[in-house]
């Protein structure tokens, strides 16, 4: 049984991974063709995933309601289904399908507005957390100078860049514009690139470990 759950999936994973790598590094068309076949499965898996997600969610909500029959759980079960039927039904039945006025109205007047509200909430959360960022506090138990300097640099850079965005300071303190830009384009870009490279190296190591069949997260789960 373990062979079906571990060895065979690992072998398939390694084979597909090696083919994809060969398609990336070599000029041989055969690997590019096989890669095309493999990657053409992505939309199939993705589409299946949507269907499975609906079934999974309905089942989970139904079981949740069966265990705890209160009004909230009934609403969680019924409301998504009602909206699903309305959206899906409109897309299928109304002439013009998703281009129809009815579907467009549902999309632009319900779905998009709800999304806009949640995005607006996100900016409030960013504003409230930005205040904490401006405090020179480090929670490192050692309280080492290195961490205090890091916290101070974060605060300093944050304040300069924030002031640079405010028209009042742009007028009365014109030097802050150039300084703010410099922080954004020099230390920020340098540090960002280093972080991206380090994260990419980490991803490569995980990838090679997976192809080697040594990735614990994919081999230890029953």
């Amino acid at each position: 049984m373990a062979m079906f759950r571990r060895e065979i999936p690992t072998a398939v994973l390694s084979f597909v991974g090696v083919v994809i790598l060969l398609a990336f590094f070599t000029t041989l068309d055969i690997f590019e063709t096989i890669k095309g076949v493999f990657t053409s499965w992505i939309p199939v898996i993705s589409a299946t995933s949507v269907g499975l997600g609906l079934i999974y969610m309905v089942y989970a909500q139904y079981m949740n309601y069966q265990r705890n029959k209160n009004l909230n759980n009934l609403i969680y079960l019924v409301v998504p289904l009602v909206f699903f039927v309305i959206f899906f039904g409109t897309a299928l039945v109304v002439p013009g399908n998703i281009s129809s006025d009815a579907y467009q109205w549902l999309y632009f007047h319900i779905y998009q507005n709800v999304g806009g509200v949640i995005y607006a909430v996100m900016f409030f959360t960013l504003a409230s957390s930005a205040i904490r960022t401006m405090r020179v506090v480090t929670k490192d138990p050692s309280g080492a100078l290195q961490f205090r300097l890091e916290a101070a640099a974060l605060m300093f850079g944050g304040i300069i860049y924030t002031l640079r965005q405010i028209p009042l300071f742009q007028v009365y303190l014109p030097g802050i514009v150039g300084f703010g830009e410099w922080i954004m384009l020099v230390p920020n870009v340098g540090g960002g690139r280093a972080a991206v490279m380090a994260a990419a190296l980490g991803a490569i190591v995980v990838g090679i470990r997976t192809l080697w069949g040594k990735e614990k997260t994919t081999t230890e789960v029953d």
Binding site: F25, S49, L52, A199, V205, V206, T210
Partner: protein
């Protein structure tokens, strides 16, 4: 036969594969114990589980609304998040804390996530602590996901919120709401563009690649830990490139053309 423009990539790949082989051989020696820098956020996870037990609130684990990607170039973060899930499951089982897992929208990864959680509870000797009800699925869409997650914080409380994985615009709301609800935030992502949210909102943060190093540490597996050293070899390769590139540029050579070989 080798594609133009990939020579340097291939060289880096060969260096890392060679380093991988070398360090895997080293792991066969039981006396070999490499020094690994300690990451404070790892202690914070245990502290947060303790806090949750004291406050009688659940521990929340999220790997992002898009955190279940198994066929994209971000798959390494999915695997890393699973390592953390196993770790937090074991910690919750040991301390008797309730664990709520907010599942990503990618249903194809759900068996892997559920299996990891079940295996973690089983490993800790408390398989009965695995509750299917606490595996929450909210469908597609980052904004749908954040509503579900924050509703769970509000209704059930939050002691520790461990968020590690692939995050987009879903993380600012979920992290800040956990903080507002009195929860302790520990988390990180390998997506550099969203690291700012974690740095601002988390009590303890794994910065970028630290999630890979920390995942290896929590696994307590020599092969996983050797991955950190392999990463270091890659970094030294990059340092060499930087130094050589700077010197060559100083003498007037077109380094950009060399790098695009």
């Amino acid at each position: 036969m080798i594609k133009t423009g990939t020579y340097l990539d291939l060289l880096l790949m060969i260096v890392i594969v060679a380093a991988t082989y070398y360090f895997y051989e080293k792991t066969k020696d039981p006396t070999w114990k490499p020094f690994i820098r300690h990451i404070p956020a790892l202690d914070a996870i245990r502290e947060g589980v303790g806090k949750s037990v004291e406050e009688d609130k659940p521990v929340h684990f999220a790997m992002g609304q898009s955190g279940g990607q198994l066929y994209s170039n971000l798959v390494s973060m999915t695997l890393t998040a699973l390592a953390f899930l196993r770790h937090i499951t074991i910690l919750c089982a040991e301390h008797g804390a309730r664990l709520i897992v907010h599942l990503p929208s990618q249903t194809e990864s759900i068996p892997l996530i559920e299996g990891t959680a079940r295996e973690g509870f089983g490993f800790a000797g408390k398989p009965e602590m695995y509750r299917r009800d606490d595996m929450r699925y909210y469908g597609r869409g980052a904004l749908t996901w954040t509503q579900g997650v924050t509703a769970s914080y509000a209704e059930e409380g939050v002691g520790l919120n461990l968020s590690i994985g692939i995050f987009y615009s879903d993380c600012p709301i979920s992290l800040e709401m956990a903080h507002i609800m009195g929860g302790m935030n520990v988390g990180g992502t390998g997506r550099w563009i969203m690291v700012y949210a974690f740095a601002m909102m988390c009590d303890y943060v794994f910065l970028g690649e630290e999630i890979y190093a920390a995942a290896a540490q929590v696994s307590e597996d020599p092969i996983m830990i050797s991955g950190i050293l392999i990463e270091e070899v890659g970094k030294f390769f990059v340092y060499i490139l930087l130094i050589v590139g700077t010197l060559l540029a100083a003498v007037g050579l077109d380094v950009a053309a060399l790098l695009s070989l």
